[in-house]
Subunit: 613 residues, 2 copies
């Protein structure tokens, strides 16, 4: 029944041999790895506008310069990663590069940063996508949390099914997005040239704060969320068609150029056209509305924006489970995260990501702006560690022109490192502290999990001669709790005699006198099997029986523990179970529960007796 | 932890020897058995008023005649039960009397009627009590469901604790109620005599229906709820001090006289004073307000009314679990209802009653008037059967003057039987149909449970020679699922060798090639124990293993089933469980789950291996 519902939702299980990697060309590679990076203009623009609008029109006049600074940073980071792609053609994720070059601990820090960032990427992309749609349909604005969770559920379900089937259909929204925005920006540029830049003015926001250097830094750092996702290609080099590194590198350059164009273009146009959004609208929606009016085209662009952001959230669903599986295989995360589910996807990782992102969406009320201060810290920490790792890599390799390569990666590390510092300081109170606390906490968790796995493996390793803990008692003692003299008891006793020569039965007397009656009958049937009758002044079967077992252990000495043989009769129909005191089940649960309280669990032999009607 | 919370709420467990019966005199006997009967004026008056008010002042002029008819019925029933008390000094509950004299089936019908009536008594009394309080504080009116459930929870908790401790404190509200209402009625009578009956008029309700004979019958039958609870004393004769029957009989007559006085007096005064209630007020509250004004005395009377109704609900909590325990002991209800809990009360019966009454309160919106049509059917059916049983009893005994006694009981049976018919017809559509359907359904359920218990007991009975089903296989085969070559496996194998000579290990290969590696290592450690490697194209450990077990059974033939020895390693700390694939637990659950699908369950030997860190 449960299986059937599962198959309906997720599809039938797939055999392991169907687990293959698909090779991508540049066109499909761009579609596969760029959505996260390209779509970040949807929230980065918004942050720049919100950051500067508090300083009024003077503040807003700085938007293009800030965007330019961020674009320069983008090109430095892109060049850095271009080198990584060529140096690690087998996939140069930040975790792998940092671990290999900077040691296990810093590798784990990078991993923790990435784990957190994946969750945030999904949450930020989904809420930003919903904001794009809610800008077009303001009546949806109060339901942003619910709509975000709905999209999250759909993406989760698709990923649990195994998204591979629809891989190439992902390319459609990416190219629609590129075509839509690029032509819109070109149209805006034409408009600007035709009318002259001074002809556009609007009721500009009033200044509530002076324009300080801190304000500019703060805006810069929130705008840096535009760079998130740029590392995606370096993780996935092996997915490209050969020559892998060549193709991946070129795709990276194309992607970075597109990112820069879209970002700088949209921020510049927003400033030049003096666009101001309505109360419940994103700045990007306001720009689109200014250029296209409230035409069907405007609604199409909003839909495409939502779509690419959903695809961007989906990249987390590809990256997070894969990273978690690598960490699990290395023994830093729970082993279950490395299990391939029925549909050949990392079911547990997908579920974990969905729960984490869902919790973030709920906790922050579905508001992208509230999530942004937590975001990007992880990404920039991972960038910095990865670039530093590359510097060490070049120094160690000392190949042709290594100094230049190392210098380039050093520049990247410095740029992202300084940005990271600025980010942490300017957004600390607004929420960055959460990420800053979480990263070391997660790192510590990874290490504790690792040492647990090592402790377990050392305790399980076999050696000759066998350690005493791996030796069972030399002889078996079996205790049977009985409910009276009947066929179930007879069956259990016969079974116990097959197993051991030391068999004792125990009867717990609940009503005064019942014990003697059972004892009299017992002696007629099994004169050679001892029956112990226990008193139970409080009418509990469990307590006296458990106390008896401890006593029996003590009597046998030497740490030997008696095994419990549980005669359990199985009714013909499940509902009949409700008509009986399920003492066998109670005893079983108590014996399992005891293992927590007393630190041990004893052998339980469950002997079913089947009723036919 | 769970135990500690339980002890805090319910008190520490009590030893069985503290299970004693207290003997009651007439004064405390009246307090113990009358609350249900006396308090019924709180809803019976209301029903008479609501029933006649639709026919305006003409209708209301019939209230005293209708009440008189009901009081006559009351005296007939009381006399009938007076005879029962003397004939069954050991306790003449309707179930016992009907069962003994009319046969098992009609006994069960009476039992079903009582079971339903107990639930309804608790629900009706509580909602009527809350209506009394909400009449005084109209702002509570919208929260009647919540307040009723609150009182229900308190009463349930007190009963789960074992109410005996506070037995005599129950007498206080009963006597307060008697003193309060009797003196109030006397005062009203005085007022009436002083001013003359014609001086009281009020804005009377307008007639919306003509006064028909059906309307009078309908009002009569709803007013008959005044009689509920009158049988209580006949159930509890042994609780009285000797001479038990004498004392119980006298108490019954006193109670019936008080009931009649209170009922007839209050209805008569209501009519004579032309009392009309406010929109959210009971008629009894309106009468009290007319006599006492909105004085503190009025509020005191409302509080006392609430209190006695709570005590009346509490009588269900004494009667229902006791009846359920008797039915369980006779094998007609689930055996668990006969278990004495920690506090020497029938915990399961109390919980069942609380759930049933709570469901009724919620389903009927806490509205007494909506519940009334379901009510009284059960009581009158039980009365009728009980009186008929008495007729048979006298006929069989043929003692001195048996004809007169039989005639008296026959008159009772006829009176209650006709009332039952009137009740069923006039209130059928309003809700009586629910009770009328439930009683045969419950009776059928009792019989099915009984035949199940008989089938079980015949299947468990021992006989010589032992039936083949009680004989285990002549030799044991043990299969061990293993996760690899390690100490847990070593321990499990050594344990299995103690039990059987036919030991096989099974390894399920999830990654291609892993099986061969394990096999190579295995041969070095345990060359004489066969290891079977199973392929699992869909990466499930369970499916191939379960299929292998079926295969192994078939190979051994003769219905023999191999036992599964489960090596289960127990982590040092519970949270470490989350870090591992709990395959042993999965297998255990699958083997238990299979018993439902395939109709059998095999022997499971659970062998724990303890980790130290």
């Amino acid at each position: 029944m449960r299986d059937r519902v599962k198959h309906l939702l997720l599809g039938p299980p797939l055999p392991t041999r169907r687990f293959i990697y698909e090779k991508l060309g540049k066109v499909r590679g761009l579609a596969a790895f760029s959505p996260d990076a390209l779509s970040s203009i949807a929230y980065a623009n918004q942050e720049i506008f919100l950051g500067l609008a508090v300083a009024g029109s003077v503040g807003l006049s700085y938007s293009t310069p800030v965007a330019l600074a961020i674009t320069i940073l983008l090109s430095v980071v892109a060049l850095s990663y271009f080198q990584t792609v060529h140096a690690y053609p087998s996939g140069g994720g930040s975790y792998a590069v940092a671990r290999e070059n900077l040691g296990a601990s810093l590798g784990l820090v990078a991993a923790a940063a990435l784990i957190i960032d994946y969750m945030l990427t999904a949450a930020v992309s989904l809420t930003a996508g919903v904001a794009a749609i809610a800008s077009a349909f303001p009546e949806l604005w109060p339901y942003r949390v619910e709509i975000s969770l709905l999209f999250l559920s759909v993406i989760t379900l698709l990923n649990l099914r195994g998204l591979r089937e629809m891989g190439s259909s992902m390319a459609v929204p990416v190219y629609l997005f590129l075509i839509g925005y690029l032509s819109m920006l070109a149209y805006g540029l034409g408009l600007l040239i035709a009318h002259g830049p001074t002809s556009f003015t609007a009721a500009e926001p009033e200044a509530t704060q002076p324009l300080t250097f801190f304000l500019l830094l703060h805006t810069f750092s929130t705008g840096c969320t535009a760079l998130t996702g740029i590392e995606a290609i370096s993780n996935g080099v092996p997915s490209f068609k050969p020559p892998e590194a060549e193709n991946a590198g070129r795709t990276l350059i194309i992607m970075a150029s597109l990112m820069g164009t879209l970002f700088l273009g949209s921020v510049g146009l927003t400033q030049a056209l003096a666009v101001v959004p309505k109360p419940q609208e994103t700045i990007l929606s306001a720009l689109t509305r200014r250029l296209l009016g409230s035409s069907p085209l405007y609604f199409a662009v909003q839909a495409i924006t939502m779509l690419i952001l959903a695809v961007a959230a989906n990249t987390s669903f590809a990256g997070f489970p894969r990273l978690a599986a690598i960490l699990a295989a290395d023994g830093f995360m729970p082993r279950q995260l490395a299990n391939l589910g029925d549909r050949l996807v990392y079911t547990n990782g997908i579920s974990l990501l969905a729960m984490g992102s869902g919790a973030l969406i709920i906790a922050f009320g579905g508001d992208t702006h509230a999530l942004i201060p937590l975001f990007a810290i992880g990404a920039f920490l991972a960038y910095t560690l990865s670039q530093l790792g590359m510097v060490v890599h070049w120094r160690r390799e000392r190949g042709r022109g290594w100094r230049l390569k190392a210098a380039l990666n050093m520049a990247g590390a410095l740029a992202t490192g300084i940005t990271l510092l600025v980010l942490s300081v300017t957004k600390f109170i607004e929420g960055a502290w959460i990420t800053i606390l979480l990263i070391p906490a997660l790192t510590l968790g990874f290490q504790r999990i690792h040492s647990h796995y090592q402790a377990v493996s050392s305790q399980l390793r076999l050696s000759k001669p066998l350690p005493p803990s791996a030796k069972p008692p030399s002889r078996l003692s079996v205790v049977i709790p009985v409910a009276g003299v009947n066929r179930v008891t007879a069956y259990a006793i016969a079974y116990a005699k097959l197993i051991s020569k030391d068999v004792t039965a125990v009867y717990v007397e609940l009503e005064p006198g019942a014990g003697q009656r059972v004892l009299d009958e017992w002696r007629r049937w099994w004169p050679r099997i001892p029956l112990v009758v226990l008193q139970s002044p409080y009418r509990s079967v469990l307590e006296p029986f458990l106390r008896y077992l401890d006593e029996a252990d003590r009597k046998r000495g030497g740490g030997q523990r008696v095994a419990v043989l549980l005669p359990e009769w199985v009714p013909a129909h499940w509902w009949q179970g409700f008509l009986h005191n399920q003492t066998a089940r109670l005893i079983k649960e108590a014996l399992l529960y005891r293992r927590r309280r007393h630190g041990y669990q004893r052998v339980i032999i469950d002997v079913p007796y089947h009723l036919r009607r």
